[in-house]
């Protein structure tokens, strides 16, 4: 499928939804409806699909909304099949961190990076993707910290680095292992910490042994001297911070990648102290909070494990229902279950999987197979275009009250500043209305604070965070079990305790092996395509497309100057980009930050160039994240194509 819409540099806008819409028959048009009719239809659809229902919750909505959404799935619909799009970005971080430390949050705070000695930015172009976090990094650099950037592209983050390690896409594990081996061989690891606070060191030592600097250099493309320098700087530092973003997680083995990085922090004792820690940066404003609130298939609110009988009992007696003692389906598994018919109804709140999933063509086909798709959003997104019922919601961050949780675990108040348009209603109100229609008369919350207080009563880590205290401290980081005290800004100080009881469970090394990208390059598809973000745009562009950014230039396939010359293409020239799954036409941009054989695209302009037609649905078996970062493509010049693509029709 080739998109032939005219390229338009002006802002791309979606108009707010102002009233409910329903569809009378599959394939028919959506028509306006009253709230009563729309809710009744949604409730009927869910009722008919009991036992085959899934909930997509929203990483951009408030904690309170995520709490109520997961409660709807578990209490009203009796399922743990609830997930949100953090699957497409950071689930591997949560999975990796909780496997090692028992908790899925980044271990340090932004302020600490200003007071550290070595900063490693791995697979993270924070200068563009997390600009205000990067200001803290810059303060750190100005205070004397040395920064290293590990990224296939020489990004604008790398421009600030003391050293740039430009590894080949998907070779993070060999690089991490080689760093680990070098640290061990040079006797630079923190022996006392490793012996006291970790487990599995001997196995780890054997695992990394084959990864000599030379071996790793061959596989990763990074010079041995550069690997050695990073290893020594990191291990010798008094304090060090290891940060990563989607470059690590959006792989078919994202969780393994995360484990490989955490190994380095364990080896050197760079965790659990002020200024030393590991920090995944979250892609969406409330990815952290959505998981914390239990809007994921394996955890109850407060990130408490569903398999823990005591935890379940607490929730069962509080909610008055039985909770299934097993993990639910991840978003990816829910999509698979649509195909097999095991999932027949979906309640999708504020997500746009039709465009954000890898292999978007397949995602749309599967959505179309559902008996009942209810979409609750502020816009008529591509996903909403497939819906049987569309419910107009409020914009969480400026039209509702509540809280969100950022990448440093800081829970902060979100406040209503403007009134929503038309008949749009708050997410929590709508969910409660549906619950009441499905037989739960008692579902009423006076306000978001009431929801929050219910969550506090169930989640020890949030108990100390009253709305008043959140206001007073400009947000509080979890854990906050006490109504008076505040905890240190970093997690896992326990790992430094000498008393084994206080120390608790040792942190295990991850025994993870190199597994190259699924989509191999070959003669037919010789170029490695990787994806990422630009500074002024965001995800599928639904939010960011509306303002007049002077920086916006639309979608391009970016090549290095050598490749542009090799294929005989110039800036602005339109080429056909083909992977094993699909093909799109996009204009060329030339970027010297890339290397021969490496191309770059974003997914900010899916209506112009649908990059996810190219990406592969190869999922991390542990976290279900797709391998957005590595596809194999080829590029061909297309003859006789006008700049607006008109001849392609």
């Amino acid at each position: 499928m080739t998109n032939t819409r005219k390229r338009d540099r002006g802002p791309k806008s979606y108009t707010r939804l102002t009233h409910p819409l329903v569809r009378d028959e599959k394939g028919g048009p959506l028509r306006p409806a009253s709230w009563d009719e729309a809710l009744e239809r949604a409730a009927a659809g869910f009722r008919a699909a009991r036992g085959a229902f899934g909930m997509f919750s929203c990483a951009r909505a408030t904690n309170e909304m995520n709490y109520v959404a997961q409660k709807f799935a578990r209490v009203v619909m009796g399922t743990n099949d609830v997930d949100s799009c953090n699957r497409t970005c950071h689930a591997p971080s949560v999975a990796g961190l909780s496997a090692v430390f028992g908790s899925g949050g980044g271990t340090s705070s932004y302020e600490e990076i200003e007071h550290t000695d070595v900063i490693v930015m791995w697979g993270s172009n924070a200068r563009f993707a997390h600009p205000i976090f990067f200001q803290h990094v810059l303060k750190g650099i100005r205070n004397g910290a040395r920064m290293y950037a590990v990224d296939p592209r020489r990004t604008s983050t790398a421009e600030w680095a003391e050293g740039w390690l430009g590894l080949d896409v998907g070779t993070d594990i060999p690089l991490a292992h080689a760093i680990g081996r070098e640290i061990i061989h040079e006797g630079l690891y923190n022996r006392a910490f490793v012996e006291r606070a970790t487990s599995g060191f001997e196995e780890y030592r054997a695992l990394v042994e084959p990864w000599t600097l030379t071996a790793a250099s061959k596989v990763t493309g990074v010079p041995a001297a550069a690997i050695r320098e990073l290893a020594h700087a990191f291990a010798r530092a008094e304090r060090a911070q290891l940060c990563w973003t989607l470059g690590i997680t959006e792989h078919h083995n994202g969780t393994d990648n995360v484990r490989a990085l955490i190994n380095l922090a364990l080896l050197t004792g760079h965790v659990g102290r002020y200024g030393s820690g590991v920090q995944p940066l979250r892609g969406q404003n409330n990815v952290q909070g959505g998981g914390d609130m239990g809007a994921i298939p394996n955890r109850l609110p407060g990130f408490q494990d569903i398999l823990d009988a005591e935890v379940r009992e607490k929730f069962e007696s509080f909610w008055g229902v039985d909770i299934q003692p097993r993990y639910g389906r991840t978003l990816t598994e829910m999509f698979e279950a649509m195909e097999s018919g095991e999932l027949r109804a979906v309640y999708c709140i504020g997500e746009n999987p039709a465009q954000s999933e890898a292999d978007s063509g397949q995602a749309m086909e599967r959505l179309a197979m559902l008996d009942c798709l209810v979409v609750q959003d502020i816009f008529l997104t591509r996903t909403a275009e497939f819906a049987d019922v569309v419910l107009p919601a409020t914009a969480a961050w400026c039209e509702t009250e509540g809280t969100t949780t950022n990448s440093e675990r800081r829970v902060q108040r979100v406040r209503r500043a403007v009134l929503p348009p038309g008949e749009a209603r708050e997410d929590i109100d709508i969910i409660c209305e549906l619950a009441r229609r499905l037989g739960h008369e008692e579902w009423k919350y006076a306000d978001s604070e009431t929801v929050w207080n219910e969550l506090r009563a169930l989640s020890p880590d949030h108990w100390g965070m009253t709305y008043d205290r959140l206001e007073e401290h400009q947000g509080i980081q979890w854990p906050c079990p006490d109504l008076e005290r505040l905890e240190p800004s970093f997690l896992h100080g326990r790992l430094w305790e000498r008393d084994p009881h206080l120390l608790g469970r040792r942190a295990p090394f991850g025994i993870v092996r190199h597994d190259p990208p699924v989509d191999l390059t070959d003669e037919e598809y010789p170029i490695r395509l990787t994806t990422g973000r630009r500074l002024d745009s965001y995800n599928t562009g639904v939010q960011s497309g509306s303002f007049a950014s002077p920086l916006r230039r639309g979608e391009f396939v970016e090549l290095c100057p050598e490749d542009a010359e090799r294929y005989g293409v110039a800036v602005g020239q339109r080429v056909r980009v083909t992977s094993r799954r699909g093909s799109v036409v996009a204009p060329v941009w030339v970027d010297p930050a890339l290397r021969p054989g490496l191309a770059f695209m974003t997914m900010h302009f899916p209506d112009e160039v649908d990059t996810n037609q190219l990406t592969i649905e190869a999922n991390c078996p542990i976290a279900g994240t797709a391998e957005f970062k590595a596809s194999a493509i080829r590029i061909e010049r297309v003859a006789g194509v006008a700049d607006d693509g008109s001849a392609l029709r």
């Binding site: 404003n285 947000g475 303002f547």
Partner: protein, 286 residues
């Protein structure tokens, strides 16, 4: 073992401010002490998130025993010092500073300037009408910012915010010297050909409105800008996971400007282009 660096409690020091003993933490400036005591000292080039530049000298106070007046915004409080904020000398000095500024610069959008000019009895016309105005049209070369150098007092705050104190983009600098000194981007070209990334952090610190958001500029031009009618609500950015606090300035149910609290631990008053300008999508209400 706890490794939290518990900052040592800052010691208090005592000095005399306008004949009253005051106590402030070590490291506080005279301005901090004045503000804590509820004294109104005018400031222009001082920025609460920036290192003092001592460029405008409108904040001067008299320190007993010192030959010259001291800028309150940068002079640290010392134990036992005797400071007077409202003497004939300070009033005269501030009056002259205001006269010089107001005669060469358009202070019409500088908050409180008119009140100070009146209060200190300044007569800007003393030097002839609009003595050294640049007489330049505002520069509108993109949809987000306007630069109106007729209003610039050369306080350098924007240069510091864009440069090594916060943004590190170095899109703006001072060019020329003396009377010809001015703030400009590379080769004095349009913003769109500079290193500017449209974070708006220069506008956040500009004390005069020489740098402003285009929306505010347009609304002022057509007379619809009404600060009295605006509400300010602090919430959290809807984009990436950093979690910046945004203060939404709302007039008639429209977001007209976005700022961030300067004492916020996440932002220190700074934002990126998405947080600063990415709100339009919620008000595409047909």
């Amino acid at each position: 073992m706890t490794t939290v660096p518990l900052a040592p409690p800052r010691r208090l020091l005592e000095f005399t401010l306008d004949d009253t003993p005051v106590r402030v933490p070590e490291g506080a400036t005279i301005l901090d002490a004045c503000r804590a005591a509820g004294k109104d000292v005018p400031t222009l080039c001082h920025g609460d998130t920036l290192t003092p530049k001592n460029a405008c000298r409108v904040c001067v106070v008299e320190v007993e025993g010192a030959r010259t007046l001291a800028p309150a915004c940068s002079r640290l409080a010392e134990p036992g010092m005797v400071v007077r904020t409202d003497t004939e000398r300070t009033r005269h000095s501030r009056k002259v500073v205001l006269e010089l500024l107001a005669s060469s610069v358009d202070l019409s959008t500088t908050p409180r300037a008119a009140e100070w000019i009146k209060g200190y009895g300044a007569e800007p016309d003393r030097f002839g009408p609009e003595a050294r105005r640049l007489g330049e049209e505002p520069r509108v070369d993109n949809d987000l910012y306007v630069r109106d150098y007729d209003k610039c007092i050369l306080c350098y705050k924007c240069v510091d915010a864009c440069g090594d104190q916060w943004q590190n983009s170095f899109a703006i600098s001072v060019t020329g010297r003396g009377f010809d000194a001015r703030i400009a981007v590379e080769h004095d070209g349009p913003l769109t050909e500079s290193a500017c990334v449209y974070c708006g952090n220069c506008i956040e610190v500009c004390p005069t409105g020489a740098l402003s958001f285009k929306r505010e500029f347009d609304m002022r031009a057509d007379g619809s800008w009404d600060e009295e009618a605006q509400t300010e609500t602090t919430t959290v950015c809807a984009y990436c996971g950093v979690g910046c606090n945004l203060t939404l300035h709302v007039q008639d149910n429209e977001i007209v400007k976005v700022t961030s609290p300067h004492d916020n631990p996440v932002t220190h008053g700074n934002l990126c282009i998405k947080g600063r300008f990415g709100f339009q999508h919620v008000q595409n209400r047909v």
